[in-house]
């Protein structure tokens, strides 16, 4: 993944601040390389900042028109009446991503414990490979499977509640769960494998069973990494568009009577992404206020995804540097210290 030569350390400066290069050896060449690397990471960060700035500027008219509170908490979106409230879509996104996490987190973490602790060698590679393959399936394929299979299944499962169709927030959530499962599982597996082997050996030497070792020693140490895995999965769930678009129903302005009322979950809804993916984006183009409202939604979405992902990455970095500082795992698992961030690079 990364080149083994010492200068490569500089490739991920924000994630590995402790591993500053030993300056006494290479002098200027390393300095130059460092500069390039800093520039490269600066460029990456600037892309995000630029995007945020762009969306903020373009969405300015709607913040003026509705007010920050009015836009974020407004419960009516009706562009012909120039009313732009984003809350139903924020609600839809939250519900869909929440359902996805509820389903994918236990499954993904369980699978990760199994692959990291339960099996080894070829079997591990086979299981892990199969799950990681899921991550490579294009989301539109998931969407089509959702339309073909999941809609009917959900429709039938919800029949006691008399749903109108199989296009519901629940359908979107279940579909997303399948999609983020490999993300959660892979990162969690990396976090678990990142726990030093010596810790396990010590635990076994003290007479703990394998289960006890996993529960009492490995899991607590891998906790930040596991949380990171869940957060990164959540980040993907929040931003996923086309698959959700196809099965969520795209019904505007659906909010529950009270925050505990679950009925809208079994009905059609709208997420930030399904709104942005719809034809209203094209309609809005050319009308400054309407366009601002659309870019406002994009800004909210980007901020949400960025917050969650940054949280995940920083947790992952903490977990990785924590276990790396304790002791290295030795030659048994190459590149385990990198953990999730290594695969992120």
């Amino acid at each position: 993944m990364t080149s083994p030569s010492p200068p490569a350390v500089g490739l991920t400066p924000p994630l590995a601040p402790r591993q500053a290069p030993r300056l006494s050896l290479r002098g200027r060449r390393i300095e130059g390389l460092r500069l390039v690397c800093w520039a490269a990471s600066g460029l990456t960060a600037a892309t995000l900042l630029g995007l945020l700035a762009l969306l903020a500027v373009q969405s300015l008219p709607v913040w003026r028109h509705e007010g920050v509170r009015g836009f974020l908490l407004g419960d009516v979106w009706f562009y012909r009446g120039q009313r732009f409230g984003a809350l139903p879509m924020i609600y839809g996104t939250t519900v869909v991503a929440g359902i996805a996490l509820l389903l994918a987190a236990p499954l993904g973490l369980g699978a990760a414990v199994f692959t990291a602790e339960g099996i080894s060698g070829r079997a591990r590679l086979a299981v892990k490979g199969a799950i990681e393959l899921l991550a490579g399936v294009p989301s539109v394929v998931y969407g089509l499977l959702g339309v073909l299979v999941l809609r009917d299944l959900v429709f039938r499962a919800l029949r006691p509640f008399d749903p109108l169709s199989g296009d519901t927030l629940l359908t979107g959530g279940v579909l997303l769960a399948v999609m983020i499962l490999p993300t959660v599982m892979t990162f969690a597996d990396d976090a678990l494998r990142g726990v030093a082997a010596s810790q396990r050996q010590a635990a076994r030497a003290l007479g703990l069973t394998r289960t006890e070792t996993t529960l009492r020693v490995v899991l607590p140490q891998a906790l930040p990494g596991l949380l990171a895995a869940v957060l990164l999965g959540l980040g993907r769930a929040l931003g996923e568009t086309i698959a959700v678009f196809l099965v969520v129903g795209r019904m505007d302005n659906r909010l529950p009577e009270s925050w505990l009322d679950p009925t809208p979950v079994a009905a059609a809804g709208q997420t930030l992404t399904s709104k942005l993916g719809g034809s209203e984006t094209f309609l809005a183009y050319g009308d400054p206020l309407h366009w601002a409202a659309i870019t406002g939604l994009a800004l909210v979405l980007l901020l949400g995804v960025a917050t969650v992902t940054l949280g995940g990455v920083s947790l992952a970095a903490r977990g990785a540097s924590g276990s790396a500082s304790r002791s290295s795992r030795g030659s048994a698992v190459p590149s385990s210290g990198g953990g999730p961030d290594a695969s992120l690079a």
């Binding site: 990471s41 109108l164 302005n253």
Partner: protein
Amino acid sequence: MHWRCRKNRTSKLLTSLATGAVFASFVLLSLVLVSCSGTSEPGEGRAGGALRVNGSTTVNPVVARAAEALRAEEGMEILVDTQGGSSGGISALGDGRIDVAMSSRPLNGHDHERYPDTRFHPVTLGYDAVALTVSRDVWEGGVRSLSRDQVRGLYEGEIVNWKEVGGPDRNVVFFNKEPGRGTWEVFANWLYGSADDAPLVELPEVGSNQEGRSKVGSTPGAVTQLSAAWADGETVFALALVLDDGIVVAPTADHIADDGYPMSRPLMVITDGEPGPQARRLLDFLLASRGQALVAEAGYLPLDTLARNEVARESPAQEGSAQEDPAP
């Protein structure tokens, strides 16, 4: 750059940070520049490359097959897309992002208001109707026609069960065509006089004709606005309308041709100003016999089957030759 600061890590860090900041501002600037230039300059890039077509999924089958033929026979480069439906195509044309827009609704005042510099040049290819189409269980349950009041009741959520309009005891699932789609605009114009007066409704939405047909076909109690030609009579069924004077008209070719069916509409391709040479070739193909055969094949009405007064249309066909012999 010779900076000897090996002992001083802080200053080195600062230098690196400064470099990063310079890069950051550079990227920021270029992003802003790109965003500014993206919205201006309509008509740019139209000279070279492929002919870019975008818009209505209703018009698409005809144009896509014409494009196939032109690609195969004349080696023409044509890209046909259906992003955002009719309004998406019209706004893309107004912004100069495409060369030809496909539309299943007439141009309206908003289009001209929004793109005052664009000289919309519409050419009508044929005619079609918007039908209210229902799933099999509704059709077999006895619903064959609806009045305007009934349609309004269904659309606004006042009628929630099909038995209220003489159908089976089943919930109404109205899949609303996305606003901005030609089909929706024609529907809203008929129901409310103007699409601007359409009220806020809470309905699940569908986009393309394919999506509308498959969702209605697979959902009991479903209804949607759909191009009449796409109602296959196997999974989705087109309802007739009961006019205000009590006459029942189905969206058949005859009733579209004699203007008896209220939600009929022209299918158009639109260029900005006179069509360029490539667009001209596409238009000629579409208006000649082979193109018109494609119109008929897709289930729409070719121009020569039309027996009505063209002047009544907002956008009359530009090619007089195509409609010399009206035969219902």
